[in-house]
Symmetry: C2
Amino acid sequence: MKSRSVASFLKDPEIRRLLDNTGVLADSRRSYKPALCPVLEEMVVVAEPLKGAVMQVHREAAKQLPMISRNPLVGVRKAGADDEISGRYGKERRIGVVFSGGPAPGGHNVIAGLYEGAQKANPKSEIIGFLVGPAGVMKGTYINITGDLVARYRNAGGFAMIKTGRDKIDTPEKMEQCRKTCRDLRLDALVIVGGDDSNTNAAFVAEATQDIGVQVIGVPKTIDGDLQVPEYCQISFGFHSAARAYANTIGSLCVDSSSDVKYWHFVKIMGRSASHLAMEAAFLSHPNVVLIGAEVADKEMNIHDIVKHICDAIVKRSELGRNYGVVVMPEGLLECIDDINVIILKLNKIIADYNRNSAGEGRDFHRDLTSMSDKMRYVNTHPIWKDYDSRVLIDLPQELQDGLFKPRDAHGNFQFSQVPIDEIVLDMVRTYLIRLKNEGKFKGQFKAQSIFAGYFGRGTLPTKFDCDYAYNLGQTAFALIANGLTGYMAAIKDLYLPVSGWNPVGVPIASLLHLEERKGRLQLVIQKSLVDLEGGAFKAFSRERVKWVIEDNYRTPGPIQFYGSNVESRPIIVQLNEFGKDLD
Amino acid sequence: MKSRSVASFLKDPEIRRLLDNTGVLADSRRSYKPALCPVLEEMVVVAEPLKGAVMQVHREAAKQLPMISRNPLVGVRKAGADDEISGRYGKERRIGVVFSGGPAPGGHNVIAGLYEGAQKANPKSEIIGFLVGPAGVMKGTYINITGDLVARYRNAGGFAMIKTGRDKIDTPEKMEQCRKTCRDLRLDALVIVGGDDSNTNAAFVAEATQDIGVQVIGVPKTIDGDLQVPEYCQISFGFHSAARAYANTIGSLCVDSSSDVKYWHFVKIMGRSASHLAMEAAFLSHPNVVLIGAEVADKEMNIHDIVKHICDAIVKRSELGRNYGVVVMPEGLLECIDDINVIILKLNKIIADYNRNSAGEGRDFHRDLTSMSDKMRYVNTHPIWKDYDSRVLIDLPQELQDGLFKPRDAHGNFQFSQVPIDEIVLDMVRTYLIRLKNEGKFKGQFKAQSIFAGYFGRGTLPTKFDCDYAYNLGQTAFALIANGLTGYMAAIKDLYLPVSGWNPVGVPIASLLHLEERKGRLQLVIQKSLVDLEGGAFKAFSRERVKWVIEDNYRTPGPIQFYGSNVESRPIIVQLNEFGKDLD
């Protein structure tokens, strides 16, 4: 055989096709055209108050946001001959858009919807994409969104087109920087794509830029699914894709578990304490044990109750010869456990008091008191620390004790993410099983593996649902802007139906705000939606899961599909909550 | 709205459809009919020596396996009118099948192929599935494989139908139990589906059961891809599916990384030291840094070289404002680092000597010498321990030092899986970056997350390639049995081509065996195939990866698809090795 050089091999078109992956799915996804709901197919739409919709505004929100707090909830309908909006609707506009917070599948389609909505109304309109989150707005760093760019990122996952960041426009100086950018770039509007805090921020920016004629619209993004408005915004975009990605992983672990019959897989799942992702993924895969944050809090379970709950399933399955299974827990589990929360709050105060009492002498709790015994000696002198707290603390495993004492963030807050709750629970389970074994109550084997179903869910390709949903949100954001509105969050009503049944609405953000302690002071924020224990989804879940514990009732949802009959799906929890509204 | 009970809600057919997930992908996958290569579509096939194929047999293999070591490599062709095989081919048979070792996607299709091949030849033939691995063969626990069972598990992932286990039939007593089961069940043949060690075992079982008329055929299974026979078995089944599952995860992390622009994701990937999975997944997703075990060994990189190699990429990207990226490393990295391997081997011997010298007094290295300084004091007294070893050891981070001293397994072997190599490398990277920062050579930020791309890849739904491949392997196993052969591994030649170009072969297992030290003594085993640094795949990889380090050259392979144009794909490394056979 004649030999040839590597260089010529690498130039061979067939080899390049392999190496450049031109056949990969992401490329073919670009050609998918997201479906629009009927009203958004119209050339001109009118946004007007929705009949029967009553949104209360908190007194503090009315005070701090005097202008936008008067916004009513609006629906969108086709413009008729009598509507006066047409002229304004098609005017030439310059609209900024920015991502805020962690990535969520579908983000690029919000930009695509916004761009194409604006272009349809007036091809001269321009979309400006601010780079690396709200910092880009304040610094005035941006790119012009072109049709080519939209085409390149259509239906792609992540936020790579303009990146994202976590800055907030939350001081008078930052607000002024933002106003300056809006004036310099002659912006008519700004669309902020983000979660609860980012939409809160959008409300304040809306209020502060109304005098310079800039409209601000928020778009509900978060894989966690904890930004919900009953009836009007049943879930944020990104949730469905992440849940499907996690369900695929959990389903695969269920298969592995019941094939190799020797491992328990412990899955920590993203979504903080909210547990919407845990519940949706569980409905799709039927793991043996699923912990739901809101239920743990409601039942006042402590960490030992949780460990016993898990061990109970392990022992029962073991008695049937099944020394394997799958446990799913939310990453924010620790926040839901009351007695640990109390200790965290007390330690927050004690540490802050120690550091504050230094009166400029630079005392530092963590630097000055290095050993645990030194720390405990001081803690015991503080009046809010009770003997009961010491007893709770001493009952916890060493790693968790250490975790609770970890340095606080710049605002004195405990950093939940620094404590590997899955590893800690797993260690406690191991310890408790040894005790049960010694007592003769557990005769099986226990081997476990743990995994974090986390970041990869934020970067997955969006499902058809999220492709369509995010695209409709982008178009809705434009429709609200074209109707002259500001201080709204774009939303789609009736997501439990196919796209043909969807209805765009504008939710006045001010009506979503309530007072909550953040960074040590009361602030207006959007309340995070936890799992509703009275909702249809949880009621169905709490009955169905009984079958999942002992039997291998596993389901394999499989990887997200983009072709064939499995493409069409919608979040199960959204459907169950809607259909189960009337349950006892 | 009238309220109704949860019980009636849960009985509603629409709600049940949601809860039972009857629409899930796994169900629709059952209807996919795997493609057969042309020759296996024939009613009767003849297995005969393949012209020009020369397989050497090790002298020791010829000695220990006198009968099956005379087997020639065979190919399969359509039977002609002159062939005398027809009568024997269609006789009624009872064939056992068993899974051995970790699950791999496609396993159920081996059973489907075997069952349907046997049924086609004689509908009265029966397939018996032994439960929970080779232990099922020894204990005689089994189920009868029916058409319904085959239909239920067709194209499903994992080995849940009959489970798997890790026992070996490797003592005279166990071999006798196996012979007894074969006689009791009147078996004509036994098919062992497993990796390198399981196929080795199959050869010995074949030799030992020839006198009772039982034929034994192995089937090459392992997601690791390290069971390869040049030209005749380019990859095992399961590899492609796991690689695609991991590539999807890595691709999603690349997207997350370049969207949120603040994390380095460190991915530890399954496949032991072999790194085939790491390379295949890397070709599909283009992460910034990929470590290949064979290259680390070949370049004699030590752990500090590896850390510097990673930090070099981090610093370079940081200089371009990119404080993010993705690093992929094989789980078996530690085995490829020579100076650590030397320390492990010396400690193995020192610990064994200590425990052995007890002369029945029950001395135990780990129980007697609790502190590291006690351990080191003893180690330093041993003649094989040199000052140089101490210097290497002391240079390692504490966690790795502790890891190297961990208790050995029952055979005195070091347990690589007990050392979290990804966490250790990540810690060392952090430490080294601080040094670079102090020296003014690194001005960026470094935040990292680590994940193990592991067990979920074993449980994923098989790709079309693996569905077809495993089905053809099952049919080939039957064809070899029907031709009266034993001591063979079923294989498919020319996997780089579409199914229409595949050719079934029988590889004589004895020819794959060589001597290797296992559990302290020389044994006949199949050598694991590591990445061939002279192969087309690695040569292409080593050129292409240069582009991946600095630029965001990421690719999104996306989740495995079962419909549409992305269904048809084959392992990239197999194609590159085939097409690049003639490279300088």
